[in-house]
């Protein structure tokens, strides 16, 4: 769809970027040593570090992706909030203090602290890079999605702007500037999420959520004696064509010179043709949105409540709600969601979204995205696999782990983790309100689930939209900075210095870190442009699976199994990376991306964690036992 550029949003955006750049300039002069560059000298206050943790962790996936997924699929999106937060329990109770005690700058330092093994240095550094790049992709995709409505620029321009600003932040003052950018962003994100939730609750539920909301057309139809569909009334619409795909039937109708597709629905009240949202691409590559060029703006924002039930009575508007009865009112009401389908018609390919009334009961429990009731064994395993990867992934993310080295002591590491859990937990509860708010307020852009929260903010006014957009942009900046610092440390400290043993003065090592930041940032820009359109939460879920498979078995076994050997650790990292990445490449979602049928996928689940995590543990145990035996012999 086409967005109107808000000059207020542009101004706030520019002010924020200027502030971030000034901050980086300020700290640049103070960052001379590798300790300062990679770990902020270990001098950050635990409170600042805790909020910076939140700023680092609450990525585009958390803010844009989860809110979008809840807006499109209800409770299933909230599963990510639960899993992401639960992962911090592993980080706090098992990993935080040992990581602080064992490491110096990087995740690799911690794994290698008692082995001094070249293979660990190499594999852990490669793992850091792979996980960080997997995590970087959704942030860049989200950045591009954001800049389209805020600045009116194309998607690629958003990715380039974010990439360039972040490279500047990291290349000037490394971890110090990154920490304060993340602190600023974490604080702003939580404050403005509270404000947005306040707006949502104050408005409550309405069948007509906003003046610009488009009421989709529903035409009564009947069968003529020849079994053909005919319109019941003297509608201005004319049925031109019809097509069946699976159990669905679609009809092309013309009205005032514009042709668009309708979906045939049969229920107790009769037969109806319901207007759909469509994107039709013809053989020459011309694209029509709801039968007209994009500039005609016929591709409406959607999502509303069809029946509002408040305190047992059907009403037009529920009025203001409190945090509890907002949820129960949604559960009692009925909501119109849009379901995606696609089919070919002649030389044209049609992507369409048809309205479907969904009960609030179904929206407020798992099942719309991850089918559980009546699900096959494989569908259930897919759900377990996702929840396992989310639970175990957080404590294995290198860009999160390096934040334990920015505080003075293990006690500070623990305290900052608790601040982070409180901040992140509060935010994740708010994601449910923001997602459901977007679902019922007629703001959804079916082309981009990631824009749900900012578009919801726009429906409440330009001021809050401008702030939320700037915060969302800051969200991307903060997380990408952390990822690039982690990658830069992996290249300059782990690989060049420790693995290849290139003799470097401290000053040169800092320069090597800056060059590495530039290279990784540029790579992130290229990948972000290529993968436009994927849901960022889904992509981050995959990054968690790679992190949990590659890194967590090594961390856990080093801490709790005395027989762990250096070769066992390296082998488990390699197995974790290879198996998780390979299974992702063979998964149904990626097959869909290749243009093939989901059913043709060689691995039947979208999330590989349930296979790759145990495989990595098993590899570590077997290789450790084998190598110990050989040493004894």
């Amino acid at each position: 769809m086409i967005y109107d550029v808000s000059s207020l949003a542009v101004i706030i955006f520019i002010v924020f970027v200027a502030l971030v750049l000034l901050l980086s300039f300020y700290f640049a002069g103070k960052t001379k040593t590798s300790s300062g560059y990679f770990a902020a000298g270990g001098t950050i206050h635990w409170g600042v570090n805790g909020i910076a943790f939140a700023g680092d962790y609450l990525s585009a996936a958390s803010f844009l992706g989860i809110a979008g997924m809840i807006a499109f699929a209800g409770y299933d999106g909230f599963l990510y909030s639960i899993g992401f937060l639960a992962g911090w329990v592993v980080a706090l109770f098992v990993v935080a203090e040992p990581m602080k005690r064992m490491g110096t700058f990087t995740f690799t330092d911690a794994l290698d602290h008692k082995y001094n093994s070249r293979s660990i240095k190499f594999t852990a550094a490669v793992s850091t890079l792979v996980v960080s790049i997997f995590y970087l992709i959704p942030q860049m995709v989200g950045a591009g999605d954001l800049v389209v409505p805020i600045l009116g620029l194309p998607h690629w321009a958003g990715v380039v702007i974010v990439g360039s600003v972040v490279i500047f932040i990291v290349a000037t003052a490394g971890m110090t500037s990154t920490t304060y950018v993340q602190f600023l962003k974490g604080g702003l994100l939580i404050i403005f999420s509270v404000v947005l939730t306040f707006y949502i609750l104050r408005k409550g539920l309405e069948t007509d959520p906003n003046p610009e909301h488009h009421h989709y057309v529903s035409l009564g139809v009947t069968n003529n004696p020849f079994g053909e569909i005919i319109l019941e009334d003297d509608s201005q619409y004319v049925i031109k064509e019809g097509i069946s795909t699976g159990n669905d039937r679609f009809y092309l109708l013309e009205n005032e010179g514009i042709s668009n597709w309708f979906h045939l629905v049969e229920n107790e009240e009769g037969m109806f043709l319901n207007e759909m949202l469509t994107i039709v691409t013809d053989a020459e590559g011309n694209i029509l949105y709801n039968g007209a060029p994009r500039t005609e703006r016929l591709f409406y924002q959607v999502g509303h409540v069809s029946r509002v039930i408040s305190d047992g009575e059907e009403v037009e508007s529920s009025g203001p709600s409190n945090p509890f009865n907002f949820l129960t009112r949604i559960e009692d009401s009925e909501i119109v969601r849009y379901i995606r389908t696609s089919f070919d018609f002649g030389d044209s390919s049609v992507v369409a979204w048809y309205p479907e009334i969904t009960s609030g009961t179904d929206i407020m429990k798992p099942g719309l995205f991850y089918r559980l009731e009546g699900a096959s064994l494989m569908e259930k395993l897919n759900f377990v696999s996702l929840m396992l990867a989310l639970f175990l992934g957080t404590a294995a993310l290198p860009h999160i782990l390096i934040r334990y080295y920015t505080v003075p002591s293990p006690r500070d590491a623990r305290k900052s983790t608790i601040v982070a859990i409180a901040a992140i937990g509060s935010f994740y509860i708010l994601t449910l309100y923001m997602g459901l708010g977007a679902m019922v307020n007629g703001v959804l852009d079916m082309e981009s689930s990631n824009m749900s929260a900012p578009l919801l903010a726009r429906s409440f006014g330009l001021g809050i939209f401008a702030m939320i957009s700037a915060v969302a942009f800051a969200t991307v900046l903060g997380t990408v900075s952390g990822l690039i610092v982690a990658s830069s440390g992996a290249i300059a400290h782990d690989l060049v210095d420790k693995f290849f043993k290139v003799k470097m003065e401290d000053r040169v090592k800092v320069r090597a870190g800056k060059i590495a930041a530039f290279v990784v940032g540029t790579l992130g820009i290229i990948i972000g442009i290529l993968l436009r359109g994927m849901n960022v939460s889904f992509l981050v879920g995959l990054a968690f699976a790679v992190a949990a498979s590659a890194n967590l078995p090594a961390i856990i076994m080093i801490l709790f199994w005395d027989k762990t050997t250096g070769r066992g650790v390296s082998a488990s990292i390699v197995m974790g990376i290879v198996s998780s990445v390979l299974l992702i490449l063979l998964s149904p979602s990626l097959f869909e991306r290749y243009g093939l049928a989901r059913e043709a996928a060689l691995f039947p689940m979208d999330n590989p964690g349930i296979v790759s995590i145990p495989l990595s543990f098993l590899t570590l145990i077997l290789v450790s036992l084998y190598t110990r035996k050989r040493v004894k012999q």
């Binding site: 098992v94 203090e97 949820l327 559980l372 929840m387 608790i418």
Partner: protein, 94 residues
């Protein structure tokens, strides 16, 4: 050359006991989390049952897991701080 740790490291006499406490709390939380996943897999219809304040089990359990993590984290910190103060100071006095 500053290739050493970013911060000074001191011996922590309470490390082992903190580690055991952390592991126990992790197992408790892990079991409760597994219970949530288990209900979703084996009795998904229960997720829609209203349990308290009009909220269904899915929402109540989900919010509960988030709030429990915050509460357990805080209690863990209090316990660890007490262990550090007692053990490290006692050893220093000896």
């Amino acid at each position: 050359m500053l290739h050493g740790p970013a911060a000074k490291k001191e011996e922590d006499k309470a490390a082992l006991r903190k580690s055991k406490l952390g592991l126990k709390l992790f197992l408790v939380y892990g079991l409760i989390y597994a219970g949530f996943v288990g209900v979703g897999v084996f009795r998904p219809e229960l997720m829609g049952v209203r349990v308290v304040w009009g909220l269904n089990l899915a929402i109540f359990y989900g919010f509960g897991l988030i709030i429990l993590a915050i509460v357990m984290g805080f209690l863990y910190h209090l316990a660890c701080s007490r262990l550090e103060d007692n053990l490290n100071i006692r050893k220093e006095k000896k």
